[in-house]
Amino acid sequence: MSKPVREPVKLVPVPSTNIIPERDVDKSPILECRHLGIDFGGLSAVKDFNMAIGRTEIAGLIGPNGAGKTTVFNLLTKVYQPTRGSILLDGRETGKMTTAQVNRAGIARTFQNIRLFDNLSVEDNVKLGLHNHINYGMWSGIFRLPKYWKEEKASHDRAMELLSIFDMENLAKTKAGSLPYGAQRRLEIVRALATNPSLLLLDEPAAGMNPSETAELMDNIVKIRDTFQIAILLIEHDMNLVMGICEGIGVLNFGQVIAKGTPDEIKNNPVVIEAYLGKKGAN
């Protein structure tokens, strides 16, 4: 079913200093960050962050703890408003959009510390992802107008279809908060996918998973990209996963991009090795 893209992809430069996979080059990048930065008080958590992601690219963002990776995600989804620079989603400036508006514009995300709607069922969690694709208002809901039944039926079917990606249909009635850890992570991905994004941000999707679960997750990430034809940007510490499926990788340290390239380029980059292991490791 899945055909993992394990062979190295050639990366080509696009305007500015960014790079995206060659196959996406005739289309504009789905995401482009230009000189993005944010200050917390006197501290620059992210400085001059530049990145482009191709339409169907699986990109990785790595770096030591505290490098600012999650901050980048929070900037992209407008949990924080950037102090400097711009974010272009599909060529459109996201400017002063709110988190909800950014999602409607096409960015969906998962969280490092899982954030599900714990007291709601798995199905309802997915239906909340579908929220902006369910088309009836408060009054149709209260008076149970025909539109309510039609739309609820359609969203139920769609939710089940999405849950089937991870074979979770049989868990539909379970309370999300009582799912095992791995299933919660998978549900977060399904919920994010339900919002019909063009860019999916995964914040440490493999955290807390064992090697066989991680391998399955890798297959599923590639499968999601292939089925939905979307771009995926992921933060991950598991180097097998990052080097295995990411086509372009950016390395962040102290809020700055210190290297960009294919997995092989990153693996052999002395600057990256130094950032992870210190000066000695680089020698």
Binding site: R109, R115, L128
Partner: protein, 351 residues
């Protein structure tokens, strides 16, 4: 198949709630017909209905939206004053009392909803304790406004003034709201049946709202605001929707309550009333509508039932309250009730 099972599960819960209300109504009607109701209990039927609706509506804010509101009596007050005013003005236009009451309730609900919207704009920017304190303040502000408001009407239309009575009504005019004197000589057109219908309407609105797209969004905001935003939910909109719906229902309850007395003042809807209703909600279980109904009814009757304790009445009331709280939170008793009902005793579910 799975869907049918789930639908029937939430449906079961809802049907049980509707069933209990209808059954209680029938039993009380039969007892009333047979003359088995004491006059003091008879007099409490309408207030019980009003408090049940108050508890249900507050449960929408506290249990479903997850925000603590300490000013719910304020919306009841708005509904009471505007609803009664509408009823007095329409006295000759709509002679048929039940219809006039219904119109008055709708007016009360609309004004309370408007008040909820205005108060919601600043209040819903806050979270948790801060929100609770500010709603408390708004509840007191509403009380003060009605305590200092004079409203009357004559052939020239409405006359309105604040602080002192400058309405200068001509002969044949009528002062409706008389500041600290409140509203007087009201036709008591509230009936137990009207209260029963209002409870059913409230249940219908709340259940159907909660189990719809909007209700899911409201509960999502409660469970995890950041995640709700991340899936594109407009948090402010759904907080407001729950808050305003809750206020509107409280307004209708206020009208029902006020039209049961020939006179009332703004002090009737003070902080104590807000807390009393909150006690109903907490005791009945957050998000548990049937619990709210039972708690509101039981705790309204309880002080009357304790009359024999005379001066120690409120002391006993407090002790009973504490015991009930302890009992409902006791794991042993919970597992015991679970065994009796043969299913897991779920707490905090969305009814």
């Amino acid at each position: 198949m799975a869907k049918i099972r789930r639908l029937s599960k939430t449906n079961r819960r809802q049907l049980l709630t509707y069933g209990v209300v209808i059954l209680a109504y029938i039993i009380i009607q039969i007892m009333g017909g047979a003359g088995m109701l004491s006059s003091s209990l008879k007099g409490m039927l309408v207030p019980i209905c009003a408090y049940v609706v108050m508890a249900l509506s507050l449960n929408l804010t506290v249990g479903v939206l997850g925000e603590l509101s300490l000013g719910h009596a304020g919306f009841m007050s708005v509904g009471a004053f505007t609803g009664v005013t509408a009823s007095i003005v329409l006295q000759n236009v709509i002679p048929f009392a039940p219809l006039r009451l219904a119109v008055a309730m709708v007016v009360g609900a609309i004004f309370a909803a408007a008040a909820g919207f205005l108060i919601g704009i600043p209040v819903l920017r806050l979270n948790g304790d801060y929100l609770a304190i500010v709603t408390l303040a708004f509840g007191e502000i509403i009380k003060s406004i009605f305590n200092n408001m004079y409203l009357g009407f004559d052939s020239h239309g409405f006359q309105f003034s604040m602080i002192t009575d400058n309405t200068r009504l001509e002969d044949g005019g009528r002062l409706v709201i008389g500041g600290p004197m409140g509203v007087g000589s009201i036709q008591k057109i509230s009936t137990f049946t009207a209260g029963f219908v209002l409870i059913l309407v409230t249940l219908f609105v709340i259940f159907n709202l909660v189990h719809s797209r909007s209700g899911r969004a409201i509960m999502a905001v409660r469970d995890n605001r950041i995640a709700a935003e991340s899936v594109g939910i407009n948090v402010t909109k759904y907080k407001m929707m729950a808050f305003v719906t809750s206020a509107a229902l409280a307004g209708a309850a206020g009208t029902l309550f006020a039209m049961n007395y020939s006179t009332f003042t703004a002090n009737k809807f003070d902080f104590n009333t807000s807390i009393l209703v909150l006690v109903f909600v907490v005791l009945g279980g957050l998000g548990n509508m049937l619990g709210s109904i039972v708690a509101a009814a039981a705790l309204t009757i309880l002080p009357e039932a304790l009359r024999q304790f005379a001066d120690y009445r409120m002391l006993v009331y407090a002790i009973v309250l504490i015991l009930v709280m302890l009992a409902t939170n006791n794991p042993t008793i919970q597992s015991y009730t679970a065994r009796i009902f043969g299913k897991k005793h779920k707490k905090g579910g969305a009814a």
